[in-house]
Amino acid sequence: MLRFALTRILMSVPTLLIVSVAVFGLIRLIPGDPASLMLGDLATPASIADLQARLGLDQSVPVQFGIWFGNLLKGDLGQSINSQQAVLPLILQRFWISAQIVLVAVALASLVAVPAGVLAAWKQDTSLDLSLVAVATLLLSIPTFWLGLLLLLFFGLKLEWLPVVGYVSIAENPLAGILYLVMPIMTLFLHEIGVILRMARASTLEVLRLDYITHARAKGLTESAVLWNHAFKNAFGPTWTLIGLVLGNLLGGIAVVETVFTIPGLGRLLVDSIFARDYPVIQGCMLFVAFTYVLVNLVIDLCYPIFDPRVTAQ
């Protein structure tokens, strides 16, 4: 198990390396650079050159990469050009904000959608199934940013139940912090319900056709015992993988939701850094996102044998 985990992490090294090189090269292809951006219309060629030298951007790209990579190996992701903050703590701080939204939303969505999906599969082609699938498809079809805007309009502006935009750290003010997170979480939650429900239904349908379900029924088990003890656990594998994918994707990319609700999360940090050409932050974020993705997938794979003992972690 441990060896498997280590192997997987080692195997992700080339992927992460490719990510680093690609990101490093790519962002330097983007027109505009942090020095001229900082100087704006005041820039003279001399002052730009000065600033670039100070930021270490006057060296060739391979040399810059070498320096950056060397520091990376020492665990130092550098310093933001804009805010002068160390990149890693900055990323972790922002990541925590995004992560609490994503984790809560996906956990809630799974809690609702998985049973609902199993139920829909069990009642396949009944009106219950059809309406559950219809709702799921509808939720899936609403873009998160629009859903966010609608929630904002309704709960924030119309009913004035919830704060419109902004963010307060839960550590600072738990109640306010939670209230600020309600709408972003709700937005993601509603969207992911659609995704997860459909998957849970499809994989349960797959399983319900199999002989061991009939076998379980032939033993005289009740329908609910058949469904939960036999169908659910076996059907959950693909759904679990999907949840992992969703998590992996969301942890790096709720920039849109963060924009709607002005939450200073990781996605927003990355987008802002791209606009500000804050190279160290972009590099750090991208690498972090890729690493998170790899890690989430690893955890998902490590957990998979729980649902399917045929898959051993080797």
Partner: protein, 272 residues
């Protein structure tokens, strides 16, 4: 003659309507979608402007119609690009196998480790945010998932006996690839392309929202929606209608995709 499945019916109707609106907009819209009217800024829906006007006094309905065409066109081209790019890579990778395949897939996985939208965001910043930049960026961003699926299909098809049959016949690997493997990738690709159309539509809107979408003034649903945000308190209609259009289109796509998958992959329907 059997009635089509309800999801195909609803989905088809929605997408058909979209196609009609998109075509009609090329010939006629109630107003010029780009014409400014300083006297009619942020006018609420009325008999004159059914869906109101925006912050420049432009007719929202006309812009929605024109936006449909742009959005459809961008999505189609992007899907075409992603599918062809991904198919070529996937076919090649599945065909050569060995270390070349592993290298290509390592790259592919590296790309997949990013949420598509972030990848597109980065690429877009490089190629520039315009219609073709978006198509290129999103095409490249979505190609890896196509490549993965094509490669998977190729690898699983290789195990099928008709591929062995082709080789026993004496057909070259390349011929087998093009004559037998490629055509059989079409079914999964069709399903994928359908849902990808929806993703692209969504991604294009999201990019606009993040400030890098199809540049205004040419309307797309995405940039209309994104542009409505400052006016959410005063002019609700600016955000409601484009969002509704995107949602209904996505709904149509999803339903159509489901119907298509049911047809092409009846296994998914489950127990008979």
């Amino acid at each position: 003659m059997r009635l089509p499945a309800p999801n195909a019916l609803v989905g088809g109707t929605l997408i058909g309507f979209l196609a009609i609106v998109a075509s009609v907009s090329a010939l006629w819209t109630p107003y010029d979608p780009l014409r400014l009217s300083f006297r009619a800024k942020l006018a609420a829906p009325s008999a004159m402007h059914w869906l109101g006007t925006d912050e420049f006094g432009r007719d929202v309905l006309s812009r929605l119609m024109a936006g449909a065409a742009t959005s459809v066109w961008i999505s189609l081209l992007t899907v075409a690009l992603a599918v062809s790019l991904g198919t070529v890579i996937g076919l090649f990778s599945g065909y050569v196998r060995g270390w070349v395949d592993r290298t290509i897939m390592a790259f592919n996985d590296a790309l997949l480790a990013f949420p598509g939208i972030l990848l597109a965001l980065g690429l877009l910043a490089v190629v520039g945010a315009n219609k073709y930049g978006i198509i290129l960026a999103l095409g490249i961003a979505y190609a890896p998932s196509v490549a993965r699926i094509v490669r998977g299909t190729v690898l699983s098809l290789r195990e099928r006996e008709f591929i062995s049959a082709s080789r026993v016949m004496g057909n070259s690997e390349a011929f087998t690839m093009l004559r037998h493997i490629l055509p059989n990738c079409i079914a999964p690709l069709t399903v994928l392309a359908t849902s990808m159309f929806g993703w692209v539509l969504l991604a294009e809107s999201s990019l606009s929202f993040l400030g890098l979408g199809v540049p205004p003034p040419a309307p797309t649903w995405g940039n209309m929606l994104a542009g409505s945000r400052p006016y959410i308190g005063q002019a609700v209609w600016l955000g409601i209608f484009p969002g509704l259009c995107i949602s209904l289109t996505l709904l149509g796509i999803n339903l159509l995709g489901d119907a298509l998958r049911d047809k092409l992959d009846p296994r998914m329907r489950g127990a008979r």
